[in-house]
Symmetry: C2
Subunit: 395 residues, 2 copies
């Protein structure tokens, strides 16, 4: 998207083979079998250093009628273009989204703005599974107020229609939903098969296991991006959270090391932000749900405070949920939702998590104050202070 | 403003004596002389613990005609109300601002929006002295584009007029400026006289010297807010930077310790943000100017990058200037200007400065990414990465 093959050749003298697929890694020969997808021809390329950057693909649940016209996944880029073209030429009236994750939320907004009546079907009992209920309840209200219909704990069994086109979806229980376009956004799976088949170690997540230098367990083979795991600085172990920012950083580190450098990517803290209609939503670290699964002894707190000085036009409430380790007070995670001022405030927490700050340390941070941008006590400081009091048994 | 005397009495059983002035602290007797400003009557009040929270006053340079109608300072609150009333009943056409600091910038916007032709006179060769030229040149462009006239390296000698009102200002060189309202915003001075006269130690800044518990050098006497110094975590010594956020935090810490608690205020990093017309401006840590004065061996860098994904509507450039210690790479300061997304990004740097992060550490931060709010590589990461390269001699 950003660069093309010509750019790489001309500016950096890198050969890019489009329409070529790597089919097998031959460890002993330090080579890769490459198939020209246009001609079907296969050829062996040898390497000194190899980077696997094979990305991820959309997970598509086993639903009948996936091949109907009007049914899309949202990966890779071509899917996005195809969806746009389909909307342009078919003017669908009823949009159906399978999965209420970040993509589902963003698509709900896009489809509504394209004039569709939108239904979101989520198989779990709550939307945006990477967040806790105190945050998702506000997102649900926003979806409601914009006319988006939300069906939780439901799954689509079949995409149906009169001809080859999608006209309706049938839920597991038999319920029918009008739909002339549907997007399945049920998460990503790493394209790690080529690595696994070569005997390169995968993590428990199914993605390629790498160290901080982005090296796999096989010498001279690196992996980076959506096909690889990341080290989670709060959890203290590898996770699979495929996001563009992480992929970018991993790619740089792998590239620099392959070129003889000596750099490392320390890891992530699980930061993610998205926009859904008039809401900004963000999270970093771990949620209460995750803390429970991990068996971590935590204290959590929810506060609401204004985005600007109370008298300043445009002020709106920001809700923050924080988690800290009960014994040490170390911050474990932050979630936030509001109409403004969320995305960068989450970055303050992400920075704090990276350096293992406590709620006590955070409440004294020297954050900026000006009436158009924050109240004298920023919501960040209020949240940290309240959590600190709770940790001390005074909250 | 936020609470009144009645609130304190009813909700917290605290007696508040309005129209009373503390005139002397009697250390030996652990008492304070209080004068009722309405009756002139004096009375002695004894204390177990004493908090000095006497604030600051506007510094007013020696200009002739300061007593003319239409000449204001911007401290205390009453001045703001008086200015508003004066504008309402006199509809001034030409507004004059003495001093191009934060207040001068904010007033330039307010006066322009109130329909005035605005002139700002600054005695130093650059505006907003707490920032470097790479930032202030963008602010100057903005002021220009909004029709604000800027006179640098100039000082007002006299406020003049036909009757008791202000009609014009005369500069040191004799130049005349039409002005029917003027605001003098030439900085603040701590109200520390009562402390000094009692023998309480002041810092080199002239403000009351306090430790992290907000204790003065005299047992049982505390100071907090705009009358007191703060410890600067980057400079490693006390400074006088009177800002509302710091005052709030110091007050809480002093109060908690006076009530028998054991808390401390670690210090500040010099964060400040303000809005001027369509610009957000922020700074934290120290500037290049300050680093030179301090004799610190630094490396600095200036970058410009988009506030959102390049294709997202509303994207605008953010300029960031960073400073790091040349030997250790430890971040020393950040300055930023742009049309959006500045105020909270500065908070990320403020957090990083607090924990003494290096440029190298910062470039790997797991900051949020979503097209409406940031590019995949946030301007923060680009700035840190470029500075890191420069530190390594690769920039």
């Amino acid at each position: 998207m950003v660069y093309d093959a010509k750019f790489f050749k001309e500016k950096r003298n890198i050969d890019v083979f489009l329409y070529h697929e790597a089919t097998r890694i031959l460890l002993q020969r330090k080579a890769v079998m490459i198939r020209n997808t246009a001609t079907g021809e296969g050829k062996e390329y040898s390497y000194d250093k190899l980077l696997i950057a094979s990305g991820a693909r959309a997970f598509v649940p086993p639903i009948k009628g996936l091949d109907r016209k009007g049914v899309f996944t949202l990966r890779p880029l071509e899917d996005g273009i195809a969806i746009k073209e389909y909307i342009g030429s078919n003017s669908p009236k009823n949009g159906l989204l399978i999965g209420a994750g970040y993509i589902g939320m963003e698509m709900a907004e896009s489809f509504t703005e394209a004039g569709m009546k939108v239904t979101v079907v989520e198989k779990m009992p709550s939307i945006v599974g990477t967040m806790d209920d105190e945050i998702t309840e506000i997102i649900e209200k926003e979806l409601n107020s914009k006319g988006v219909k939300l069906l939780k704990s439901k799954a689509v069994a079949e995409f149906a229609g009169e001809d080859s086109r999608l006209n309706r979806a049938i839920l597991d229980g038999g319920e029918m939903i009008d739909a002339d376009i549907a997007v399945v956004g049920a998460g990503l799976r790493p394209n790690s098969e080529i690595a696994r088949e070569a005997g390169i170690e995968l993590g428990k997540t199914g993605a390629i296991k790498v160290n901080q230098r982005m090296e796999t367990n096989i010498p001279d083979i690196y992996a980076a991006g959506d096909c690889a795991e990341s080290y989670h600085l709060v959890l203290g172990r590898n996770v699979y959270i495929p996001l563009a920012t992480t992929a970018n950083k991993q790619g740089r580190v792998a590239g620099e090391n392959i070129a003889g450098g000596e750099v490392s990517f320390p890891g992530i803290v699980g930061t993610a932000i998205f926009k859904v209609f008039d809401l900004e939503v963000g999270r970093t670290g771990i949620t209460e749900k995750e803390a429970k699964v991990e068996g971590i002894d935590y204290v959590s707190n929810v506060i609401e405070h204004g985005s600007r000085a109370p008298y300043y036009p445009g002020v709106s409430p920001i809700r923050i949920k924080l988690l800290a380790d009960k014994k040490t007070g170390r911050l474990l995670g932050a979630q936030m939702v509001g109409r403004e001022g969320v995305s960068k405030r989450i970055d303050v927490f992400a920075t704090a998590l990276t350096v293992k700050m406590t709620a006590h340390d955070m409440r004294n941070l020297d954050l900026g104050y000006a009436p158009p941008f924050s109240p004298p006590y920023d919501p960040i400081l209020i949240a940290a202070d309240e959590l600190h009091k709770k940790l001390q048994g005074k909250g």
